[in-house]
Structure formats: structure tokens, C-alpha cells
Symmetry: C2
């Protein structure tokens, strides 16, 4: 099958999560993605969250690095070195897309800003990704996913009603931003295909977080309501939350009166199918009583029993799964949500691209690159002679170890 981006080259200066995950998706769609890393250790993500021993057992790549860097080739360039910066400019002139997430002004300081690079490559699509954006009072403040969970209001809405705020357990604002980058790049590529024009694209953790919280902001602007955390519940309907079971927790959602009747009948008609709980507005008003009555039933049942009874009754139900069960979920595998790739005899697994196109395949063609793995190959393609490569090595521009 055709690959949508098979003749597109992406030069990726980004590190950690959002940028690398975005360029990985471009790679999944067929682009030739060149990951630029510092010779001195590379993307900090290579060692993230693992001890030295574990890292050795994992072949020098953390699980997070593996999760975000398939379908790329790797080159090392020490961008503090002016020679390396001129190599980067040469590579950018041969590229369709450049992505970076340095602090605002850094790429410009290095002569690698959009205005400079587009002179040599007017069709370039150039993506700046920052924490709070490039301007405004917070532009130079360091931030990550957790900081934006706090700043955006998401954290104020997460956690137990009577407890402190909690974080959403994953780097959701970071990874949401990665899809915003890909969307913007695809929109710019489409525009370029029709007009010949490149352009600069910008997004940030802040824009990503605001998009996730947009309907709460709209609610506040229109009504003044300031929604707050409610554990697993929400203000819309009851039941609409997790309940304790014999072996964990199960989520039950029955907003309409009709679905509630089916839910009550399937769980415990004697205790739940009463007139007091029959209407949605009364269930909201008697939230505590309804939750207590349901919990009294669910505590005596297993997750599997509850899922079986309620799904048969066409009531929305889901089990609170841990990471192990979620990763090995048969449903995820059934819909092609896991890519397998043979790597030196081992069947490596990756979470798939989050959308599927029937006529054009997304797939794993390459495992994540070792640090600097394709430096010589990429320099050769860009026209550097063996003597020039030797000079780059001697100057420290590409690191000394290759």
C-alpha cells in the first residue's frame, strides 16, 4: 500500500515527548524522519525513568524513548558548535519539515530560525513548539506536562472531592500537543501541495491544555461556573462514576431514566428499582444515597460479573484496569491498536498510530535509532565527502565517538 508521506523528509530537533511523538507519527505515515541529538547523551528521554542497570538490560533505550522514536534515523550534532549548526542548516535545506522545542529564541540565536532557513528552502514547513508559546509574560518560564496540568485548571478538577488536587496519571497535555503538531504539519503540507507555499507553524503545551479544557472555560465565560474535582464522578448525572467491587472498581454510567431502569434491574431490583431514584433529577439530588445503594451491591460482585450483567442489559460499563491489563487488552489488539515488529528475532511491540486509513498503511519500518546510528549515512546523502566527515568528527561537531 502507498504511504502518504513517502517523499517527505522531516528534520527533528525536538526532545522528550511531544515533538518526538509527533515526528514518529509522520514517520508512521511514511516520512523519512531524521532525529538530531547532541553527541553528549542525546535526547534526555533515552534514559528517562530507568536505573543504569535497567538501561543496560534494555539495550540503552528507555521504554519511553522506544515509545516515541520508531521510524526515525538518528544523527548527532553538537549545536553549540558553529560547524554543526552549518550542517544542520544544510540538512534543513534538504527537508520539507523542521520541528523543534527549544526555548523561544534559541533556534534564531543559532541561525536556525524560520526566517533564515526559508531563504534556502522557501517550501519549508517549520514548527516551533514551546511550553507557554513564544510571547507573553510566561514565555521564558520552564514548564512540562505537570506544570500545564496545574496552570490549565485540569489539576484543580482532578482528585477526590475532599482531598488535594491530583495529576492525570499520564502526560496527556504533552501527547495531545503532539497530535496538534501533526495536524498543523498535515494542514501546512496540504496547503503547500496546492499553492507551493511553505509556512511557520506554532503550538504549545498551553494551547494543547486550553483545547482539552475548552468547554469548562466556555462554561465559566458564559455562566461563571467554576467546576471542581469530584473523584470519579461528575456533575452531569448519577450514576456516572467508579464503584468498588470485590476485586477492584467498575465504572457505571446510566444517564437516562430508561438506562437506569435496566441498570437497577440487572444489579439489584429489590434495592435500586425504587420510585425515589426513578428520575434523573432526583438521582442527582440524592447523589449520596444512590451511590451508597449501588456500592452496597457492587461490593459483593466481581468486576467480571458486573461487566457481564450490565453489558447484557445495554448499560455503559467498564472495568478500572491496571496498566498490565490495559496494555494486553484483547480489544486493543483486535482493532490493530498494537504494532508488532521483528527486531533481531524479538517481536517488539508498539502502540499504533491513533487513526487508521484504509488505503494507506501506517507501519513500523525501523526500530528507534541508537545514538548517532545514521550520522555517516545521512551526511553522505547530504553530499559530505569522507574527508569532510572526518573534519566534522575532528572538530567535535558530530561527536568524537562515531
Amino acid at each position: 500500500m502507498a504511504q502518504i508521506l513517502q517523499d517527505i523528509r522531516v528534520l527533528d530537533f525536538s526532545r522528550i515527548f511531544a515533538g518526538p511523538d509527533a515526528t514518529q507519527m509522520l514517520g508512521d505515515l511514511g516520512a523519512d524522519v531524521i532525529k538530531v541529538e547532541t553527541p553528549n547523551g542525546g535526547d534526555e528521554c533515552r534514559g528517562l525513568g530507568v536505573s543504569g542497570n535497567e538501561l543496560e538490560q534494555l539495550g540503552g533505550m528507555s521504554p519511553s524513548f522506544r515509545a516515541f522514536n520508531r521510524n526515525k534515523r538518528g544523527i548527532t550534532l553538537d549545536l553549540s558548535n558553529p560547524v554543526a549548526r552549518s550542517v544542520a542548516a544544510t540538512l534543513a535545506a534538504r527537508s520539507d519539515v523542521v520541528v523543534n522545542n527549544f526555548r523561544p529564541g534559541t533556534m534564531e540565536k543559532w541561525g536556525l530560525g524560520y526566517e533564515e532557513l526559508k531563504r534556502a528552502q522557501p517550501r519549508l514547513i517549520y514548527c516551533d513548539f514551546h511550553a507557554y508559546g513564544a510571547v507573553g509574560p510566561l514565555a521564558q518560564i520552564g514548564a512540562n506536562d505537570l506544570a500545564l496540568q496545574a496552570h490549565s485548571g485540569l489539576m484543580s478538577m482532578t482528585g477526590a472531592e475532599d482531598g488535594p488536587p491530583a495529576r492525570a496519571g499520564g502526560a496527556i497535555i504533552d501527547l495531545h500537543a503532539s497530535l496538534a503538531i501533526v495536524t498543523g504539519v498535515m494542514a501546512a503540507l496540504y496547503h503547500r501541495e496546492r499553492t507551493g507555499e511553505g509556512q511557520r507553524l506554532e503550538t504549545s503545551l498551553l494551547l494543547s491544555s486550553a483545547h482539552l479544557m475548552s468547554y469548562f472555560y466556555e462554561d465559566y465565560w458564559l455562566t461563571g461556573k467554576i467546576h471542581r474535582r469530584m473523584g470519579t464522578a461528575n456533575h452531569l448525572s448519577v450514576p456516572n462514576q467508579a464503584f468498588p467491587t470485590l476485586d477492584g472498581y467498575a465504572v457505571i454510567i446510566a444517564p437516562s431514566d430508561e438506562m437506569w431502569r435496566r441498570c437497577a434491574t440487572a444489579l439489584s431490583p429489590q434495592t435500586l428499582l425504587c420510585a425515589a431514584f426513578a428520575s434523573a433529577s432526583e438521582r442527582l439530588r440524592l447523589r449520596k444515597e444512590v451511590v451508597a445503594a449501588i456500592s452496597a451491591v457492587t461490593r459483593r460482585l466481581t468486576n467480571a460479573e458486573i461487566h457481564d450483567r450490565l453489558s447484557k442489559a445495554r448499560v455503559n460499563v467498564a472495568i478500572v484496569q491496571d496498566i498490565a491489563r490495559a496494555a494486553n487488552d484483547p480489544q486493543l489488539a483486535a482493532i490493530g491498536g498494537v504494532f508488532e515488529h521483528d527486531e533481531e528475532g524479538r517481536a517488539a511491540k508498539y502502540v499504533a498510530t491513533p487513526f487508521q486509513l484504509d488505503a494507506t498503511s501506517a507501519s513500523v519500518r525501523r526500530p528507534p535509532p541508537k545514538l548517532g546510528e545514521h550520522t555517516l549515512e545521512i551526511l553522505g546523502e547530504a553530499g559530505y565527502s569522507p574527508a569532510e566527515v572526518e573534519a566534522l568528527r575532528a572538530s567535535g561537531a558530530i561527536g568524537k565517538g562515531l
Copy 2:
């Protein structure tokens, strides 16, 4: 400025959050988006989360509906009526993109599946969006954002360490899926521009959730680690969480030893700048002690003082803001994160598209449509004569009220 999708028409059968938010972004980029709703109340989102009285004061549109439905025109069609379904097919034949989120098989049952519609419009890009995908053991189970927070493992990682699971406070899996839809549509449009081929696109809450959790699944697959909830903290470094202050909570993140020294110096050198806490591995080992020592300092300071001191010391810091402060954040406004639009003399506000393209503007051209507002206009453009429209009305296909 040019609008990227100015000659693209989108026919949108989707409801609630993900689909409408996705087509809104296509509208932001310039597409003509036609929202199809049932004459009997329309998209359930129109009344979501507000009482009857509030809804009246809001002009019949909930804040959530407003958040996800700008830049669209609206038509009412009762798809249980075969005449309405033939109108829908006629509109699809004039469209570039069709989006739906009915249960798997519903559009096919109505003669509106991809295979049928592409006969009349081979260039069509057709998006199916489901909860768990179209195949597999859970394909027919009802689910929403909360259910997928549970199923994906996110909920097991959210909440206090010693408490029950919590939900991430917003519908993040739903809204992440919306960007996956837009990315897929843009990729398919790019492919069509180069090859002339349309295609079917599919995504789901399940694929969206797996993308957000991908690095935890990868970690489990490679090391067997099952990460669990830790309040606002994580397993990577200390401090990397929210701390109580005089007037709320502040997030402090200082992973490197150098940043920790600056942090300790800025907050309380007497109590924090000690040898025991100097190395990252020791701070991880002495997590409880480090957190207690920092908390003892932050409890006596305001959010503003902490933000001021730590940002000056170049330590990552953020305030846990409530929805009011986040919605009115000066930084969000400074980077163009809020669209304003004059609507009958009122300056309506919307959260902006989550990426910005320099050469091609995203903007608000239209407020969300009233139910059926553009039915006659859209039917007229599609070639229906006044007499035919009258017959549609009489048959109930477009509702009787127009």
C-alpha cells in the same frame, strides 16, 4: 489570508464531543461544515450540563455545545425516515468529508456506509468514529470518555496514592480523539490531492486512549512495571509535584541537582540546602522527608511569592489554578489562544484552534447554528425546489417545525 480548507465541504453526523470538536477545527481551517441533527432536539450536547432555566438564559445552547460547534451550518434530518436518508446521501455526494460516530453498523444499515456513498462520490473521505472500534469483543459495548479512562489504565494511575482511583477532570480522551480525526482527515486530503483517491478513515476512543498511555504500555511490555497513582507526584524525580501554600497549591519541578540547588536556595537554604538532599537518587530515596521539608516552607508562602522566587531562580514552577483563573489567563490571551467574535453586539469568546499557521488564518466566521437554522439554505444549494422542500417537510424528513 488564505484559508486552507476554503473549498472543502464536510458533512457531519457526529454528536456530543469528539466528532463535533473535530469538524469545528476543519471549519476553523475554512471548510464548509454541515452539521446534521435529528429534528427532535438535535445533538444531545445542546442541553448538556444545564438546567432548563439556564438553557433558556443561554439562548438554547449549552456552554459545551457552543465550545464545539462554531463555524458550522445546521440542517435537521430524521434519519429514521427513508426520505431523510436519501437527502443525506444526496448531501454526501456533494461533500469531500463525511464524519459519523454512530454505533458500528448503523450508517451501513441506513445505506450511508462508505461502500455505498463512494459509488456516487469516489473522492469521498469517510470517517467512522467508535468507542472501542468496529470489531472485537467490545465493539458493541456503550462507552464514553469516563469508560475509556477506566479501560485504558489512566484511571488506575490517577488519584491519591492511598485512595480510590480518580478521573482526569476533563474529557481528555474524547478531545484527544478529535485531533486524531482531524489528523486523519488532513492526511487523507493530502493523499487525495496527490492521487485523486478518497478513502475510509477510522479511529476510536480506544485508539485515542492507547496513544495517551503508550509509554506506560511500552514500559510494561519491556519491564513488567505496572505504574500506579501517586497524587500529583511521579516516580521520576523529587520534587516533581504540587505543594500546599498559604492560598492553594503550587507545582515545583526540579529534577537535576543543579536546579534543586537553585530551588533550595530560593525557598529556604537553612532547611533545604543540606547534603542529605543534594543528589537526585537520595531525593528519590528520601521522598517523604524532602516533600515534608519543602511543604513546611511552602505552607508559609503565597502562590505569588513562590512563583516569583522560583521563576527568578529558573526553577520550573506553576500555580494550581482554578477554571476561572485558567480561562482568563493573560498568557493564553497573549498567544492568541482565545478567539473573540461579535455576535449580536456581544463579544463571544471561544478557545482557539490548538495550533497556529502563520500564512493561513484560523478564525470564527459563524456562531454555532440554531437547530435546523440552515436547512432550507442547504437544501436549496443541493438543488431541492421549494415544492420538494415542502414535500420533505410534510413527510417529517426534515422535521415539521421549520
